[in-house]
């Protein structure tokens, strides 16, 4: 394929360009601590896109604790131990970083992420491992019935409805006639709302809160225009409003944003404040597509105890809607309970894409935490290794590489020089590969890289020894070089392929650090095969091309 020097040089050139492009400094978002305010903020930094580990550059430190504000957790120490496992799995899924997940003092969990480039994502991953619960929506429309009173209280407090939303008075029907229970209850709600409106001084004035809410498709679901979400939040936070929210009802935002008529709406749910089940009882959740109906479904199974509770509760709530709440957010639209469910259940998502079902299953699995966690501390931390250790390591690395160069050039002379110049390409390719995989470089990783330089020359040593043997057998320089390469190939291929297979198994079976190690190994082997065999061969071709009459070879 690449028989001409020209095509080989082009390929090498492309590889070099690609590698350099991988390592070009670019804008990356970083979480840093604002010196004046002491708060964390995102900044954009221009730097080489190689991640350094916690030991080399530090990162973000998050401390999580069991949240007992919403009711006591029976065994916080046990809860945190279980949370540790879940968080570790989640953080590892995050990529080939080298995070720290550690239990401290029996009630806190430390998560440290090295120089996180996207802290929002990191936090959302940890948040996603938060508290999971199932709750029934406000089937009796208690919240809607209380809205007039809330509006009145707000009016008395001097809050006026925003003008631009005044078009829809009261709880409006946004999507046409409803189906099922919501429809049956609608007239009653309207009736309840009207007398309340009459109490007001200004009869035509829309309710401050109710004008922002639109009835959703199921009981207890309200849609709020996206831009009004903060307004609704601040209204709901008022103590006067808090008092008027019916007993046993809690309001929670949904994750779904739906857009109708060029506006997007966020769902607000009125829910029973008591969960029928928490994530502690959830054991398994898988997404699949129902082969008969071609609908996306999530199958889940509960523990024995959870199955008993769930059976009792769902039996009581047939044809009610059950919200899946993760970390206080309602996930997707609450599904309807079709009948009594025991240990094994199924959530039907209708015609929604399978991806959505997979996301939900992930949330269910990951959310299987025994207790909610809150972030109690967020700080930036310095490198866990002192400057002195890092400098020592770098100095040792330079000396090590220099020794390799010395040995190679001293022993193989000009050929050794070719191998050494190929080594610089090897380092470039390896670093680019690590950057492309988002690999995190740690001090041990650097040591591994130095060691791999020693190992990378092995292929060249094999080739050069073969060339020497061939020359010894009296072959011409050109033939000796050719045969040296071809004869050394079987040893190089077999030894590298088996090491590569070992690395792949390590990557498949191992976790966290072992996987990171395996990736370095795989990239290193690939890079050394390219440079030691292909690049050095090209160098020889150029050399022999310039000096076709060469009788002796400097090897």
């Amino acid at each position: 394929m690449f028989h001409t020097i020209r095509s080989r040089l082009i390929l090498i050139g492309l590889l070099v360009v690609f590698s350099v492009w991988q390592l070009v400094p670019r804008d990356t978002t970083e979480r840093v601590r604002d010196v004046t305010t002491g708060l964390m903020k995102d900044t954009v930094v221009h730097r080489v896109p190689v991640n350094y580990g916690l030991d080399l550059q530090g990162g973000i430190h998050l401390a999580l604790e069991v949240d007992q504000s919403k009711g006591p957790v029976p065994d916080p120490a046990e809860a945190i131990r279980r949370a540790e496992r879940v968080v570790r799995i989640r953080v590892n899924e995050f990529g080939t970083k080298e995070p720290v997940v550690q239990v401290v003092g029996g009630n806190r969990l430390i998560v440290e992420l090295p120089g996180e480039t996207d802290p929002a994502r990191a936090k959302s991953i940890i948040q996603r491992t938060a508290f999971l619960e199932f709750r029934i929506t406000d089937m009796k429309n208690l919240f809607r019935d209380a809205l007039p009173a809330i509006d009145k209280a707000l009016r008395e407090a001097g809050v006026r409805a925003a003008e631009q939303t005044g078009a829809a008075a009261n709880v409006a029907q946004l999507f046409g006639p409803d189906t099922g229970k919501a429809k049956a209850k609608k007239p009653k709600a309207k009736a309840a709302a009207k007398p309340a409106a009459k109490d007001t001084t200004d009869q035509n004035a829309p309710g401050a809160l109710s004008s922002l809410l639109f009835q959703g498709q199921i009981p207890g679901e309200y849609l709020v225009p996206e831009e009004q979400v903060p307004v609704v939040d601040s209204l709901l936070a008022r103590p006067a409003v808090q008092r008027l929210i019916p007993r046993g009802i809690e309001l929670k935002w949904g994750t779904d944003v739906s857009s109708r008529a060029a506006r997007s709406y966020r769902a607000l749910y009125a829910l029973e404040d008591r969960p029928i089940l928490t994530g502690e009882e959830l054991e398994k959740a898988t997404a699949q597509r129902d082969p008969l109906t071609n609908q996306s479904v999530v199958n889940f199974s509960l523990s024995r105890r959870g199955g008993r509770i769930f059976e009792r509760e769902t039996g009581r709530h047939v044809s009610d809607y059950m919200a899946i709440i993760l970390d206080g957010r309602v996930q997707g639209q609450p599904p309807i309970i079709k009948g009594q469910i025991g240990q094994h259940g199924q959530i039907e998502l209708g015609s929604k894409p399978l991806q959505e079902a997979q996301d939900l299953a992930l949330v269910l699995r990951a959310g299987a935490l025994p207790a909610p966690l809150t972030i109690v501390e967020e700080r930036t931390i310095g490198p866990s290794l002192g400057k002195d250790s890092i400098n020592d390591g770098i100095r040792a690395g330079i000396v090590g590489v220099a020794l390799v160069i010395l040995i190679m050039v001293g022993y193989y002379r000009l050929s050794g020089l070719l191998a050494v110049s190929a080594l610089t390409l090897y380092l470039l390719f390896t670093l680019a590969g690590l950057a492309a995989f988002g690999f995190t470089l740690t001090l041990p990783g650097l040591a591994g890289l130095v060691l791999s330089v020693g190992i990378a020359v092995d292929a060249n040593v094999l080739i050069f020894e073969r060339i020497r043997e061939e020359l010894q057998h009296g072959k011409l320089v050109r033939t000796a070089v050719d045969e040296g390469f071809t004869h050394a190939m079987s040893a190089i291929v077999d030894s590298n392929v088996s090491t590569m297979l070992t690395a792949m198994i390590l990557w498949l079976v191992g976790t966290g650090p072992v996987q990171g190690f395996a990736i370095t190994l795989i990239i290193g082997i690939a890079a050394s095969m390219i440079t030691a065999v292909f690049v050095v061969r090209t160098f020889y071709m150029i050399w022999l091309d310039r000096r076709p009459d060469m009788v002796t070879l400097s090897v």
């Binding site: 310095g382 020497r468 088996s498 190994l521 090897v555």
Partner: protein, 342 residues
Amino acid sequence: MIRLFANAHYDFIRWRRWAYGLTGVIIIPGFALFLVHGLNYSIEFTGGTLIQVHTTTPVGTGKLRAALDAAGIRDAEIQQFGDPTEYVIRARIGTEAESAASSTEATAQAVDSALARGLGHDQYKFVRHEAVGPKVGRELQGKAFLAIFFSFIVTLVYLAFRFEWRFGLAAVLATFHDILTTIAFIRYLNLEVSLVVVGAVLTMVGYSLNDTIIIFDRVRENLRKFRRQNLYDILNLSINETLPRSVLTHGTTMATTLALVLLAGEVLRPFALVMTFAIFTGTFSSVYIAAPILLYIEKRWPGEDARGARTFRPTGAVAVSAPEPPPPPATGGPGARSKAAV
């Protein structure tokens, strides 16, 4: 031109029983010690004590580390924590985590007195200290061993396909031998087993396998070249022929690991020591374990298929070319030395 060990013809295989004895002397007591005492796992695996310190001036991690080192608290992890006057120290005293509560207090006291001596009493104050759990789940150790086990199986299959099952078995047994000697080595020096050391053991598995296969590749080639030679001689010939390469490659890798041992400081020393030993044992086992085991297996389950081992055939090249066969190896080195080389 420098040529080391060119055209050597040492009878390596003859010393195999001595080699078995030597390796047995290393492995058996070391492994017995390992079974009795286990390994000295680092704070990453065992957990220890986390101490948050507030200093009056930004002293820097170096000074804190010096203070702890002077008091003999090694392997402590010191991190700046937010402000330059806040530090977190993760430390552990003793070799194994004893009962958590008592050792937390003891470690905190040891760190306290170390800092008092190193910095002065009024220069710092303890914000808090508490027991800290392991950074690495126990499952990592299990997974690492599981991964090695599976990689052995894959290696066996690959070598059975590319060479022949006898070669695969010998290579895997030699690598297994290296794992045992490395564990014994770690136990003798009582090195702390940290993640880095686990990484070194995994590197060793790859390196040792690599080295064995290079020699086996030569064996495979020579088996096809000299069909009448017995395996004993062919093994010796192959080891001798690859000797210059072995010396060179081990020289370069050893140079890097020794540089790390001598210059990289405390943090990387266990890794570098294990790697240095790994290079040694990997080389040793390729010659004295893998080759004799192949000989033994061939005697036990003789088959002419060892001679039919496939050879890698690059496209457009002849796999075996021996236009001028060198004289048989047992009787002497290659006679006709070409003077073409400079």
